[in-house]
């Protein structure tokens, strides 16, 4: 019940913040509403027990992107408060694109058979925030050895709550012990995400070097000119 209340609060804040970003014309106010919206998305991730994802959302989007946005506005603004005025045509085009994206999302969400997918998830306890379920699951840890399947699934569900860091780290290194142990290697080894991880790392390095190259002070050329004039 409390979880649902929190979910609706943060969902309203997310959507309301997003609408406010579009509706305001002042860039810094947009940044403020963006903070509200993205922070609420992080809170939704925490509610779903995706702790690492929520922390990454806070660090990258709220702490990184928005800070850089405001920093850029401060350094480049000519007037006191930068505003972006949209013409009616732009509003219509933007609205149409947004509406089409919404329709695509709604139709794709509607086409998924959620009943079949939720069966594949480990059974989650009724209310994961009560300590009782966790304690019981720990008490049943001894029963797991006795072969009780219910205890096994309960334990798996409890261990899954927010404890995804190790699995994430291993899968970035190309190991998927959760999948490989479960399926017993019948379908071959699950590959993990080693290659995408490396590609993204190299990509970021390239971006960093490129930014440093573009931003470097071009003093050497000036000094060479001076030498040639002398």
């Amino acid at each position: 019940m409390i979880e649902q209340l929190l979910f609706y609060t943060f969902a309203i804040l997310t959507c309301g913040g997003a609408v406010a970003v579009v509706a305001t014309q002042n860039v810094v106010r947009m940044a403020f509403w963006l903070v509200v919206s993205l922070g609420s998305v992080a809170a939704l991730f925490f509610l779903l027990h995706a702790d690492f994802l929520g922390a990454a959302q806070l660090l990258i989007y709220v702490g990184g992107t928005v800070v850089l946005l405001v920093f850029g506005v401060m350094l480049t603004a000519s007037g006191p408060y930068t505003t972006i005025k949209t013409s009616p045509a732009e509003g219509i085009i933007g609205g149409a694109v947004g509406l089409m994206l919404l329709m695509v999302l709604v139709s794709s969400i509607g086409s998924v058979d959620w009943g079949a997918i939720s069966g594949r998830l480990p059974a989650s306890p009724e209310s994961p925030f009560t300590a009782d379920s966790i304690r019981e699951a720990h008490a049943e840890e001894s029963l797991v050895n006795a072969g009780s399947t219910k205890a096994k699934t309960d334990l798996a569900a409890v261990q899954q709550q927010g404890r995804t860091v190790r699995q994430l780290g291993l899968s970035f290194l190309g190991l998927r012990p959760d999948r490989n142990l479960k399926e017993g290697g019948a379908n071959g080894l699950a590959p993990g995400y080693f290659l995408p991880f490396e590609i993204v790392s190299v990509h970021l390095l390239v971006v960093l070097i490129g930014a440093a190259y573009l931003a470097r002070a071009k003093r050497r050329a000036v000094s060479e000119d001076r030498v040639s004039l002398d």
Binding site: M1, I2, N26, V28, R29, A31, F32, V35, F46, H49, D51, F52, G54, A55, A56, L58, L59, V62, G63, G64, V66, V67, L68, V70, F71, V73, M74, L75, P80, Y81, P128, F129, T130, A131, D132, I134, R135, H138, A139, S142, V158, Q161, G162, R163, T164, V165, R166
Partner: protein
């Protein structure tokens, strides 16, 4: 969210007490909800008390230390000879002030920015363990989460400076943004070194690995973590914009920097956020490098064994020994953090402020390469030891063995407690 938890939660205790007093069955929904809300408000109140109480002490300490360093007495009148109540008097004065918004300011952002900074600073307290198992949110990725939360405070400051409509505030905010964006990098790399040694992002695990004598603390793990502690502390001082890195509010150049236009309550919660963040970064330093809630002399284990078994009869699943050890651990951790905050205050009143180009040079040309080198060396250190002496540490059992033995003993304890509870 529940990585590790106490044997008996407050929620559970309240539910059982109410059910035994009122004869309501212990598994009724209303009772569980009441117990949950009561426990949640108690915990939130305790955290808020810590969040509000520590700055009161630190502001008094700041005045007192500043006075002593400048050969003065500091506050002496309010609340006896030591001026204990000076901060409270200041707070009452500040709340009475008029809440001004300048005509040039962007009113919405100007009003909201102090709350943004304060919320970010308070959120960091949620994932900060005060003692073994005493943590509001025992997240598996606690260390990562606290770094993310502490990096949000800068946003409130930048927005405050920008929306003030004053050139002093704008300059302060720009300096703060440039400084914070740069200093986050060496700070994260330095924090990564003990995390890498522990092999975990969970503060509980990191703290437990440093149990026993002070030679188990990560600062003494190898020479590079020893240096990394000082590197981390420097960047942490810069990240909470304390002198010599307090360019955002450089009084001699920028009037008061980003909070030039603020007054009254909004001004005071900026300071609440600043002083609480000082505690937060110091407590993180204490947990990552200085043994967390372990005193390093074995007093906590003596306390635990002295009271072991007593108190289980009074409340089910409650052990006086572990409770006393936890209270002692909380005192130890807060003392360590307060000592580090004292060093920050000491540095502020004895070192001159750097120029902005010196601040950036210190970070980009010195701290980033130093932290990268320390990280690399700390990675290679156990490998070198293994190849030369065929053991990963110089003396004592390896970290993994220590953590394992501790884990098995605690799980035995827990199962014993459960057995007793049934």
């Amino acid at each position: 969210m529940h990585g590790l938890f106490a044997a008996l939660t407050l929620e559970d205790f309240i539910a059982r007490t109410i059910s035994s007093l009122t004869k309501i069955p212990a598994d009724s929904d209303t009772l569980l909800l009441t117990a949950f809300l009561a426990a949640a408000f108690t915990h939130a109140g305790l955290l808020l008390g810590l969040f509000g109480g520590l700055p009161v002490f630190y502001i008094w300490l700041e005045r007192k230390v500043a006075g002593r360093i400048q050969d003065r007495l500091g506050p002496t009148r309010v609340g006896g000879g030591f001026g204990w109540l000076q901060t409270i008097a200041d707070g009452i004065k500040l709340i009475q002030k008029e809440d001004l918004v300048p005509k040039e300011a962007d009113a919405l952002v100007f009003r909201m920015a102090p709350y943004l900074a304060t919320i970010a600073s308070f959120a960091a307290f949620m994932v900060l363990p005060i003692s073994d198992g005493w943590i509001a949110v025992a997240a598996e990725c606690g260390a990562f989460l606290i770094l993310a939360l502490m990096s949000l405070e800068v946003l409130g400051i930048i927005l405050a400076g920008y929306s003030s409509g004053s050139k002093w505030a704008l300059f302060g905010a720009m300096r703060e943004a440039a400084q914070m964006v740069s200093y986050e990098i060496p700070m994260a790399i330095c924090a990564l070194i003990p995390l890498m040694i522990a092999g975990s992002l969970n503060f509980q695990v990191i703290g437990r690995m440093q149990s026993g004598g002070f030679w188990n603390w990560f600062i003494l793990h190898d020479p590079f973590t020893f240096l990394a502690f000082f590197c981390y502390f420097t960047t942490a001082t810069a990240s909470v914009k304390r002198a010599p890195f307090d360019l955002a509010e450089a009084e001699s150049e920028l009037v008061a920097g980003f909070h030039t236009e603020y007054s009254g309550f909004r001004w005071s919660i900026f300071f609440l956020a600043e002083y609480s963040s000082m505690f937060a970064v110091s407590a993180v330093a204490a947990i990552l490098f200085l043994g967390g809630w372990h005193d390093g002399l074995g007093i906590d284990s003596v306390l635990d064994s002295m009271f072991r078994g007593t108190g289980t009869g009074i409340i089910e699943g409650f052990s006086l020994g572990s409770y006393v050890a936890n209270v002692f651990g909380a005192v130890v951790l807060i003392t360590k953090a307060c000592l580090l905050v004292f060093v920050q205050i000491w540095v502020r009143w004895t070192l001159p402020r750097l120029r902005i180009d010196q601040v950036m040079t210190t970070c980009l040309k010195y701290l980033v390469p130093i932290s990268c080198f320390l990280f690399l060396a700390a990675v290679l250190w156990p490998l070198t030891l293994v190849t030369m002496f065929s053991r990963p540490v110089i003396a004592g059992p390896a970290l993994g063995e220590r953590a394992l033995s501790h884990q098995t003993t605690t799980s035995i304890d827990a199962s014993e407690r459960l057995g007793a509870a049934r």
